[in-house]
């Protein structure tokens, strides 16, 4: 596999690690788009990211010219191998003071980033993959929902999504429809809004930020930004890690691993409206990394 030549993807911001899991000044190694990178977060919270070299062992040795663009946003270090835009996509809820914000997990998955995004957008698998947690047979129907590609914000928005959840919240006895809103503001990132069990007027935010290691491997960083004052971090994390652990073997058994953009490569159904929009959006943007582009 050759290194990334996709300029769209090179110019994006990509996450490389959760800040809460760094030690100030310590250097971490990672891989982004087949390039070995090192990064470190200073005591002031400022990240430094550079292409790994045996002679460069500390952030303060890195000359400005050797530094890659770096940003600390939503609790993660972000970088880019190209010329990224000034700002990352907004998640306004992240700034709300009464929310718990944490990295639920960073998981390695043998799959392309776009396949992982489609899985994140998908509700039809809840009864089969997340049995008795996010769904349960026989409640398998994916009801009609709306999808739009917002032109001014350049993102996909799926609204009016509802799915039957057997234990809608710890407070409720039986199951009920749970509301979801999905955003795809970045080819490899998605944000989900889900009815909050503690405040009917607000929504929990769960975001997935995929770090493309190469075309067929990712590190998936999962951000939680939720209204929950009671549960311990480890309880909240364990729940999300259970869910993710159920998705991982499915994702790793998708063939081919890269997402095919040819509409005739796979068989969509109405429930896949958001995935259809996502594939078209990637095609229109000219993304070629992690996908199998449609024949011209």
């Amino acid at each position: 596999m050759t290194k990334c030549t996709d300029s769209v993807v090179l110019n994006l911001w990509h996450p490389v690690g959760a800040i809460a899991e760094t030690v100030p000044g310590a250097v971490q190694q990672t891989v982004l788009l087949e390039e070995r990178l090192s990064f470190s977060v200073g005591a002031d919270g400022e990240p430094v990211v550079w292409r790994s070299r045996p002679d460069l062992r500390r952030a303060d040795q890195i000359a400005a010219a050797d530094r890659l663009p770096a940003k600390s946003v939503y609790g993660y270090v972000w970088t880019s191998l190209g010329s990224p835009p000034a700002d990352l996509f907004p998640i306004p809820e992240y700034a709300e003071p009464d929310r718990r914000r944490l990295n639920a997990a960073t998981f390695g998955v043998n799959v392309s980033a776009p396949r992982a995004i489609e899985n994140f957008l998908d509700m039809g698998h809840f009864p089969y993959v997340h049995t008795d947690i996010l769904g349960a047979e026989p409640h398998t129907e994916v009801k009609e929902y709306d999808v739009e590609i917002s032109v001014d914000r350049d993102e996909i928005l799926a609204t009016r999504c509802r799915f039957f959840q057997p234990m809608a919240s710890t407070a409720s006895e039986g199951g009920a429809d749970v509301d979801y809103v999905y955003r795809v503001p970045h080819p490899y990132c998605s944000v989900l809004y889900k009815s909050s069990p503690v405040d009917a007027a607000r929504r929990d935010v769960i975001a997935i930020f995929l770090q493309p290691v190469d075309q067929e491997h990712v590190r998936a960083h999962m951000l939680l930004c939720v209204l929950d004052e009671n549960s311990e971090d480890k309880v909240i994390k364990r729940f999300q890690q259970t869910i993710f652990g159920q998705d991982k073997p499915i994702l790793e058994n998708q063939v081919p691993k890269r997402l095919p953009l040819d509409p005739r490569a796979e068989t969509p159904i109405r429930a896949d409206k958001s995935a259809i929009a996502y594939r078209r959006w990637l095609s229109q943007k000219g993304v070629t990394y992690g996908v199998i582009p449609a024949a011209a």
């Binding site: 026989p138 398998t140 509409p263 796979e266 159904i269 109405r270």
Partner: protein, 588 residues
């Protein structure tokens, strides 16, 4: 060599790799297979990808009749590989053409054989034709097949009768591109071993050895161990030999594209009243008083995929065409079984089936069509069958039984001797509730009891004679069942059709405007203009000719639509219904 290998047969598994309810991951020339044996013994070799989102079907679930994908629960039928159910859309019947790619399967010499594009039959192997054979454990080797075959020519093993000895004489009996036959002799003991090399990929192989004699107990284990040790040693040698050579590039499998219409949201399939299939009557029997059962087997090839609730058109020797529901359970795809009741006032349909058609006769039938789809997302499903109305509901009940979904089948009949398909009914166990010899009043009272406790999430399916069906629908409505939870299928439309109106029909997608005069149906006028529309019963009962109304007020004369659908005015049965407005615009 590998290019020519595509048209040859290769072993891809040992027969003992395919126990019931298991899915085996096979591979040949870079292509992966999901291999599974159905409960009826049929071996399915499929492309190892769900057509929906590419998930490997080898991690799916073999329920004995169908293979279920782990990701979204799509179900694919034994033999045909056609998709029978998409849980995300429980009210829709999946398009019949969602069919996975299948590869041929032949079980021979204790091995399962397949090929991408086979020419001819599985080869006869001299020396393995007779007696009981012993298939050895498959030995995977990370080396190209030709290197493995070369090495096998020098493979040394003891004959079965002298397994503990050493120094047997080995003769190469035959050697081909993908197989070596060896004869091992030690004194009087003699064994022929044929070692097939399965080309898994350009740089990976599996040695599948078969010995010409079987053994029992400890002797068998000793033989298996003997070959296991020696073939493992051979593997190590081959892998060492090829370690320094550059590995050939893996073979990239080419996946067939799905058809263009499946890539879009499904549209109506455009075909008229066609009978493309030829079936032979394999069995005709009296399954109940006045009801004949017919088992219809394909004259060649395999039958298309059906879903519970589907019917076929049977074209009879006397030129009549009638619709009969398929009674089969899921995965039962070798033949279609239908039930035909002899109607006292038969106009030639049931009379012909009862009196003229005999075992061995060939009939023309249509592909199965499903206008009575079964939802499988109900918390409980109630089936109400009257007489021969059992047939579609029997197929549905068997499907729910197979998935262990809660259901009851209430079967109203005149007496025990009128209950059809006793063998299938027996399999339903306690879910079957017969109600025998009831008067119309008593039937009504029983229905009130059966339909008493409607809860949100329950669904009701009714099929039976007109008056009983009407009564059941009325009682259900009285007891709080919404129209959306009540599904029904009439045998025929007994409404008197009033075809005296004349009006204009505009076909929006075809950009055609037609005049429908009194005495002609919309369907007839469309056909005369060369617009091919599917139809089946052509009397407003089956739902095949449904069209979407964009504008105008339909004059419904069918018995397919329910009251809510009639009021909505967005669907029309073009074979009988007409227009109250001067103009109708249809989405055709």
């Amino acid at each position: 060599m590998l290019e020519a290998a595509r048209s040859q047969w290769h072993p891809i598994a040992a027969a003992h790799d395919l126990p019931f309810r298991h899915v085996f991951h096979g591979q040949l020339l870079g292509r992966e297979f999901a291999v599974w044996r159905a409960d009826d013994g049929y071996i399915n070799i499929w492309e190892n990808r769900c057509l929906h989102r590419g998930v490997r079907l080898s991690i799916g679930i073999n329920d004995g009749r169908e293979l279920k994908c782990q990701y979204h629960g799509w179900r694919y039928s034994n033999r045909t590989a056609g998709c029978t159910y998409i849980p995300a859309h429980p009210a829709d019947a999946p398009a019949r053409t969602i069919t996975n790619r299948t590869f041929p399967a032949v079980e021979r010499y204790g091995l399962v054989w397949s090929s991408e594009e086979p020419l001819g039959e599985v080869p006869d192997v001299a020396g393995l034709a007779e007696g009981k054979l012993l298939a050895l454990r498959g030995i995977p080797v990370n080396a190209p097949a030709d290197k493995v075959v070369e090495k096998l020519k020098a493979y040394r093993f003891q004959p079965t009768g002298a397994i503990d000895g050493n120094g047997a004489e080995i003769a190469v009996e035959a050697a081909q591109d993908f197989a070596v036959a060896l004869r091992s002799r030690a004194g009087a003991a003699e064994t022929v071993g044929v070692f097939f090399v399965q080309p898994v990929d350009s740089n990976r192989s599996v040695i599948r050895g078969v010995l010409d004699q079987d053994a029992e107990g400890a002797a068998r284990i000793a033989i298996l161990r003997h070959h296991n040790e020696r073939l493992s040693k051979l593997r190590d040698e081959v892998e060492r030999d090829v370690a320094n050579a550059p590995a050939p590039a893996p073979i990239e499998p080419i996946y067939e594209r799905v058809s263009a219409e499946l890539a879009e949201m499904p549209e109506l399939t455009a075909h008229g009243r066609k009978a493309a299939l030829r079936v032979a009557v394999a069995r005709k029997w009296r399954t109940a008083d006045g009801i004949a059962g017919f088992e219809l087997r394909p004259v060649k090839g395999i039958l298309p995929t059906f879903q519970p609730g589907a019917h076929i058109d049977v074209h009879m020797p006397n030129g009549e065409i009638r619709q009969y529901s398929i009674t089969n359970g899921p995965g039962e795809t070798g033949s279609f079984t239908i039930g035909v009741k002899l109607e006292p006032d038969s106009k030639g349909g049931s009379k012909c089936m009862h009196e003229t058609v005999r075992e061995g006769d060939v009939l023309a039938i249509s592909e199965p069509r499903n206008n009575f789809p079964l939802r499988r997302d109900a918390i409980k499903t109630i089936f109400v069958a009257g007489g021969i109305g059992i047939t579609p509901l029997l197929a549905m009940a068997q499907a729910l039984k197979n998935q262990e979904l809660t259901h009851e089948l209430h079967y109203f009949a005149q007496g025990e001797q009128h209950l059809a398909f006793a063998d299938r009914l027996a399999e339903l166990g306690d879910a079957l509730k017969p109600h025998l010899g009831l008067s119309p009043d008593a039937t009504g009272a029983e229905l009130r009891r059966v339909l008493a406790e409607y809860r949100n999430g329950m669904h009701l399916y009714i099929c039976g004679p007109g008056p009983m069906l009407e009564a059941a629908r009325r009682i259900a409505a009285e007891q709080g069942w919404p129209d959306s939870a009540v599904h029904f299928e009439y045998f025929k439309n007994t409404n008197k059709i009033d075809d005296s109106s004349s009006f204009e029909v505009a076909l929006a997608r075809s950009c055609v405007t037609l005049q429908v005069p009194a005495g002609k149906t919309i369907l007839q006028v469309m056909r005369e203009s060369g617009i091919d529309v599917p139809s089946s019963c052509e009397q407003g009962a089956c739902g095949t000719c449904v069209a979407t109304v964009i504008e105008g007020e339909p004059d419904h004369q069918d018995v397919y639509l329910n009251d809510a659908e009639r009021k909505a005015g967005t669907k029309i049965m073009t074979c009988v219904s007409r227009a109250k407005s001067a103009r109708l615009v249809l989405d055709i």
